[in-house]
């Protein structure tokens, strides 16, 4: 093992430790908060993990819940590598879901698997187009993607809301939704009576591909360089604008695929609300993974387990499963600034050390 790869491994271990610590402390604080609400800390966590990992149904639900999170988490990770905070994932997901639904409903001449693949591609294009728009705003006008993303989220969700309440709503439908997509566009399920579909496999493959893109290609190298130091990259002759555009398109495409996966695998049509804030939950997923595409796979599954567990529990008893949202937010805080956890620990450690060395120093003073 040479010096370089040894450093990479030790960095990896550091990152892993940092994320694990962040998650642990976040879970701990989440636990304290729910105990303040009169729930038992231990009971809630055992119930959650029993619910999600104890039964095969729970495990399938965990993976199904993880799927959209993985897509948006991967999307966020792609952006942040270039220094882009893509807050438009939610809107991109909706747009991807819409374009996928349109292709799924109206393109009726393709055979089964091809149709499903083309439909997913349409989702990626829909999401990517929104990313492209944000990238254009950023590179041409200097508009921060954080704000344009949030505004586009609202605009797109109102727009799709208008479509499913009006032009796209079939006459016989009671609730706001489009007509069902064709059978040929549906994703096949990995287990019966589960919402787990082939989308998960697609996403895992994409995570690996993006990882390879970032680590093994010139494009990936350029993106990383821009993300680390835009000025230095510019001096080195890398076109930063191009990288921002590429990252936002790719990032939006991932969120769009997430929307397509929801339409093709879960709802079988486009409905008014296809996402419960999956776009924003991509941020904690990516943060927990230290913004590493391979890590996203595991981070998404972990949050999937937490969420699914909380839902499973919630069916029998009432547990505030909203606390999972708080755990996620805290993970972002602690991963961003690990010193918040580490500096108190260090202070305590140095305090204990001082206590130990106190008498020794005093002794020396006496001898002198």
């Amino acid at each position: 093992m040479n010096e370089h790869s040894r450093k990479r491994v030790s960095d990896g271990v550091m990152m892993f430790g940092r994320s694990a610590l962040a998650l642990l402390v976040a879970l701990l604080i989440g636990g304290v908060v729910i105990s303040l609400g009169g729930y038992s800390f231990v009971e809630v966590y055992t119930a959650i993990f029993k619910g999600s990992l104890g039964t095969s149904r729970g495990m399938l639900l965990s993976l199904a819940t993880a799927t959209p999170l993985m897509f948006t988490g991967l999307g966020f990770a792609i952006g942040i590598k270039v220094g882009i905070v893509n807050t438009g994932l939610e809107g991109q997901l909706y747009m991807g879901g819409l374009t996928a639904a349109l292709v799924g409903i109206y393109v009726d001449f393709l055979p089964g698997p091809t149709h499903a693949a083309v439909t997913m591609l349409a989702g990626a294009i829909g999401g990517g187009a929104v990313g492209l728009l944000m990238g254009w705003f950023r590179t041409r006008f200097g508009a921060p993607e954080v704000i344009t993303g949030i505004m586009l989220n609202s605009i797109i969700t109102y727009f799709t809301g208008y479509l499913v309440n009006g032009p796209l709503k079939p006459a016989e439908a009671a609730s706001p939704q489009t007509a069902p997509i064709l059978k040929s566009a549906e994703l096949s399920r990995l287990a019966s009576k589960s919402q787990l579909t082939t989308a998960l496999i697609v996403c895992v493959i994409l995570c690996i591909l993006i990882y390879l893109l970032q680590r093994r290609t010139i494009w990936g190298f350029k993106m990383t360089a821009v993300g680390m130091n835009p000025l230095a990259a510019k001096v080195a002759g890398i076109n930063g604008s191009q990288m921002y555009l590429a990252a936002l398109v790719l990032s939006g495409a991932m969120a769009g695929l997430g929307g397509a996966a929801l339409v093709q695998g879960v709802f079988k049509r486009f409905v008014d609300i296809i996402s419960n804030g999956y776009g924003f939950q991509g941020i904690p997923v990516s943060a927990l993974a230290a913004h590493n595409p391979l890590g996203v796979i595991f981070a998404a599954i972990l949050f999937g387990v937490l969420k699914a567990g909380a839902t499973m529990v919630n069916q029998s008893t009432t547990i505030p499963f909203e606390f999972v949202d708080m755990v996620q937010a805290l993970v972002v805080v602690f991963v961003a600034a690990p010193s918040i956890i580490l500096s108190p620990i260090q202070k305590i450690r140095s305090f204990i050390k001082k206590k130990d060395s106190g008498p020794a120093a005093a002794g020396q003073g006496g001898a002198a």
């Binding site: 303040l36 905070v85 505004m151 609202s154 924003f280 904690p284 505030p320 949202d325 708080m326 600034a337």
Partner: protein
């Protein structure tokens, strides 16, 4: 267009501008101290939920407002610690604060009232015309009607805008704060504690955003509803940018947002689909954001620290 519609537009524009105005003035302080106010949304959400909790538990809307302000400041202090102390990128620290604010709202609904989606109704502020001690204002000629339709918050907001402007532009404190935002290294050289001024800027932002949140829940709705901030924290940033990070400029710019926001209520039921009307304020904000960013004159040293 008849007079009724014009009056309705004026009154609801003023009413709907208030939260964005308050938060935008907060953003002015934060930006002038050199910290991008990305966490506004979370501070507003925290303010909105704690206003309702305070009002529900004590039956006093004023305790609710106090709690909202404190919650906003608490959340903003997290943003400040992350960005100023630990030098986390302001965008990322702001986003984490926003996620936390939204999560707090959802969790509090479940823990306090065992509900999800929205809280029960609580004691809230009424219109000036319906408030006994203030109803004389509604009888002032010409502006009486418009004023009577506003809440006490409207008056508070006017005071906040003026005091904010005086503070930033007519006091030593404000001069120093602006210097920290322009050039933290130079400010540090002349002996200004840049860290303290940055903290203060962010805390004022939290205070005013918390107040804006209290307006949303205690004046707008009488209750907390999930996602009721609806991106207004980000809108406030854009509005602040349009107002060149000056409290008075921000306040005037906020009126535009209020105008586009009120159309959905004024033209309710007129043949345009409601979603398209609801989209308008965001389309407006997006256009402002895209068109104004390059030529906006914010402080030069935003995001810089004195020791980096």
């Amino acid at each position: 267009m008849n007079n009724d519609i014009i009056l309705a537009i004026i009154t609801s524009t003023l009413r709907l501008s208030v939260p964005v105005m308050l938060a935008a003035v907060g953003c002015s302080f934060s930006t002038r101290a050199g910290v991008t106010a990305f966490g506004c949304e979370g501070m507003m959400a925290a303010g909105a939920i704690f206003a309702v909790i305070g009002s529900d538990f004590t039956g006093s809307k004023w305790i609710g407002v106090l709690l909202a302000v404190l919650a906003g400041m608490l959340v903003s202090s997290l943003h400040a610690v992350l960005h100023v102390k630990y030098k986390v990128n302001a965008t990322l620290s702001g986003m984490s604060v926003n996620l936390l604010g939204a999560a707090l709202g959802a969790l509090a609904l479940k823990l306090v009232w065992k509900v999800s989606g929205m809280s029960p109704e609580v004691a809230a502020f009424s219109k000036i015309a319906a408030t006994p001690s203030l109803s004389w204002m509604a009888r002032i000629p010409v502006i009486g009607y418009v004023l009577g339709e506003q809440s006490l918050f409207f008056l508070i907001t006017i005071v906040v805008v003026i005091v904010g402007w005086v503070f930033l532009y007519k006091t030593t404190f404000g001069l120093r704060m602006r210097m920290v935002g322009e050039n933290p290294v130079a400010a540090n050289t002349v002996g200004i504690n840049t860290v303290r001024y940055k903290y203060m800027g962010v805390l004022v932002c939290g205070l005013l955003s918390g107040l804006a949140g209290a307006f949303l829940s205690l004046v707008g709705m009488n209750r907390y509803i999930m996602g009721m901030t609806a991106g207004r924290g980000y809108v406030a940033m854009v509005i602040n940018n349009l107002g060149a990070s000056n409290p008075i400029g921000s306040a005037l710019s906020a009126l535009f947002f209020g105008f586009f926001d009120c159309l959905q209520f004024v033209f309710q039921g007129v043949r345009t689909p409601s979603q398209i009307l609801m989209m308008l304020p965001y389309v407006f904000t997006l256009i402002i954001c895209v068109g104004n960013t390059k030529r906006s004159k914010g402080p030069a040293g935003v995001g810089q620290h004195f020791d980096s």
